[in-house]
Amino acid sequence: MLSFSIIITVSIFFMGIVVRTKSLASGRKGPGVMQPIKDIIRLLRKGAVFSTTTSYIFRIAPSIYLASILMAILMLPHGNLPGFISFGGDFVMFAYILGMGKFMMIIASLDTGSSFEGMGASREALFSMLIEPAFFIVMGSLALFTGHTSFYDIFSTLHFGSHISYLIGTLAAFVLVFVAMIENSRMPVDDPKTHLELTMIHEVMVLDNSGFDLGMILYATPLKFVMYGTLIANFFIGELPLQWSIPVFFIIQFVFAVTIGIIESFSARFRMSHNPQFIFILTSVSLLIFFGVLLVLGKFI
């Protein structure tokens, strides 16, 4: 439960740090760190409006989406403390629980019958599908490296061998940063700030959501970021005692948020048709990790 509670704590500040970094990078002062979460709280206190063309799918989807992410977070360990749910092969369930939430959002957006939302849904489905191999190759390589198949076992035994595990961790962190960016439809595949429906991916899917539902969907973004940030942090926490691991966790999350802010400030969004190529690059980097692991284990001549 410690892991769960610190993840929730970090998620409150996370988007604020991203937005603040972007503001400072463009020479503006920017809103306070708490502003994004205040906006979400404001939305949570409002009622939702439902279009008459939608069915019950549209109404339950945001709750299932948020619940799926919370459930995935419950599986994450913190250093040598296991997550709330932990069993052999739990990273597979982790990925598909998230997939289920996303699936609900996609069919909910198709439920509205809007041409925009169908477009967004098709883009989101395509990019999530393409990013799946990258995640599984990374986790599979680590499972092969450590000989375990649950998050807790993988991360608690990662650094027993040699220091080469830190190198693998760094490469895996690179992949996971971009997996997080793509999963959250951020730069460079999508621009969360745009008002132009035609260029959006995630935002256009949720155009019809309002009030409480929209609040839940928006809160899912920092939660997902921190979730991937936790995976990254776990590569480096390892066996550290709690008084060290918690500060390290916060520092890694902070650096992660600043990194996102910087990526979003100084790059332009990709052309939509270039996104699949970019995502395949991530898959090839994760293959690099896989071959690295094979080399270390001596299974590759």
């Binding site: 463009s26 621009d191 745009t194 132009l196 429906e197 035609l198 332009a268 969004r269 939509m272």
Partner: protein, 500 residues
């Protein structure tokens, strides 16, 4: 004689303009434009004469600096053959004539309602039943955007026919605003009212349209324009160009989500528009340009302050532009996006930036000089060849630099400003005047015709957006639908300039 030759801002007798039979009129005008890349139709409109309609066609020749005007009297009812059938330069004009007078064309390929004016001939035509081009297909899908804009600008409806992410066809339907500017010009008889109307034709081209109106009005009333007025109009035009182009660069950067460019260019635009505030009390330059006078004399101190603004502007602009136009991510988005070929721009008859981006030299500052152009300022139009978003971005960057150098050149020699006084303006009787101005977006054309009492009989306005919307519709074909916003922004066309 089958046409009468006039020059920019020249007032001529209506009687001098030859009235041809319709078939002759058609042949002559098509012949003038066909296979002459240096000629295009600047205005083509109808004026009601009792039970008949008199069509005036004005074709500008960029090389000889002349404008060829001829006319034709036609009866209402009955079907005509169209000029558009032979050359698409006339497409929008003929749609407008049909809408206003109910003249039918037998062979016009795209005879759809244009702006739904309140005084249109056929009240049965409602915006709700606009005849969209449709694709009856299982594979293709339609995406409708608007008329409510996602941001804060004006209404317009865009109907895409797409194959997945690829745009096959775009139809732009405007006409939501019903402002009746041209009718108001005839109703409002005070000069101030008319000048204010001219300022509001398109809010982003205040200086351009007001200059066109003022130049025209002074010529129509037989007045000599004072040097200080020439000076202030030229300077204001160039400043407007700098301000809007900088804002457009910010918006283009914003559309490709390049945050740094968006915020830096956005910030750079502010001191320029604030200078208008310092000069005339309005950031959009409203109130500065007036026929026959200027209420806000341009002083040496203002010149000094403008030089200071440029001194602060230039290093930041150069640094940002160097970054912006070299960043691979930016180039990947801008290059080869939204291409309009030379043949297409020629066929459509685009003007201004939308012509120069594809290597078609159309710039009124050079071809039909007005105010201080070709006099103090030797203008060289900036041409690009590719016709893509990147070309339009480069033109903006180059024109900003050019305009700054023109402004500096103007500031070297600030003329003496007279005290503003209200002069009695009396338009001459039975005259025709045509005024062309190169606004930041392109060529602006105002035409005025007076009756036998010296009252305005017709006032015709043509904003550059009039032709250029069609170029946008062509530019997005075979592009990704997600690239439409950046294509649209790179043209930055006016909705209200179209919905007069």
């Amino acid at each position: 004689m089958r046409y009468f030759t006039v020059y920019n801002n020249q007032t001529v007798n209506i009687k001098d303009i030859p009235v041809l039979k319709y078939q002759e009129f058609l042949d002559e005008n098509v012949q003038l434009v066909q296979n002459h890349s240096e000629r295009h139709c600047v205005n083509f409109f109808g004026v009601r004469e009792q039970e008949q309609v008199k069509l005036y066609c004005c074709i500008a020749d960029d090389l000889s600096h002349e404008i060829y005007v001829n006319a034709s009297l036609i009866d209402l009812g009955g079907k005509l053959s169209s000029l558009t059938f032979h050359n698409h330069n006339f497409e929008k004009f003929e749609r407008e004539i049909t809408e206003n007078f109910g003249i039918e064309y037998a062979d016009h390929p795209w005879l759809k309602p244009m702006r739904y004016a309140h005084n249109r001939a056929n009240k049965q035509q409602q915006i709700a039943n606009y005849p969209f081009y449709g694709a009856d297909s299982e594979e293709l899908h339609e995406v409708g955007v608007g008329p409510i804009h996602a941001g804060i600008i004006e209404p317009g409806h865009f109907r895409f026919i797409c194959n997945g992410e690829q745009i096959l066809h775009l139809e732009i339907q405007l006409g939501y605003q019903h402002r009746g500017i041209e009718a108001l010009f005839l109703q409002k008889e005070k000069l101030l009212q008319r000048a204010t109307l001219a300022e509001n034709i398109a809010g982003d081209t205040t200086v351009g349209h007001t200059t066109a109106f003022s130049n025209l009005w002074e010529s129509l009333c037989g007045m000599e324009t004072h040097k200080s007025l020439h000076f202030s109009r030229t300077l204001a035009l160039e400043l407007e160009r700098i301000a809007i182009h900088t804002g457009d660069l910010a918006a283009i950067a914003g559309d490709i989500a390049y945050q740094l460019g968006n915020s830096v260019y956005g910030r750079l635009r502010t001191p320029i528009v604030n200078f208008f505030q310092e000069w005339g009390g309005n950031r959009l330059a409203k109130g500065i340009i007036r026929p026959g006078k200027i209420n806000y004399p341009f002083s040496k101190e203002l010149g000094q302050s403008l030089m200071d603004i440029f001194r602060a502007y230039e290093p930041d602009f150069n640094e940002m532009t160097e970054q912006f136009l070299q960043l691979p991510g930016v180039l990947a988005r801008l290059e080869r996006t939204g291409v309009v070929s030379y043949a297409q721009v020629l066929e459509i008859g685009t003007v201004g930036m939308a012509a120069r981006m594809s290597g078609l030299e159309r710039d009124i500052r050079k071809s039909h000089p007005f105010n201080l152009y070709q006099n103090t300022i030797q203008h060289k139009p900036i041409l690009k060849q590719q016709g893509d978003v990147f070309s339009r971005t480069q033109i903006r960057k180059d024109e900003i630099e050019q305009s700054i150098s023109y402004c500096k050149q103007l500031l070297e020699n600030i003329p003496h400003f007279n005290k503003p006084e209200n002069i009695e303006f009396v338009p001459e009787k039975e005259k025709f005047t045509l005024s062309l101005v190169e606004g930041w977006r392109g060529e602006i054309c105002h035409c005025a015709i007076t009756d036998e009492n010296g009252k305005l009989k017709a006032y015709k306005i043509k904003d550059p957006s009039h032709h250029n919307w069609m170029a946008l519709a062509q530019a997005v074909r075979n592009n990704e639908i997600s690239d439409f916003p950046v294509c649209n922004k790179s043209f930055n066309l006016s909705y209200c300039g179209h919905d007069l």
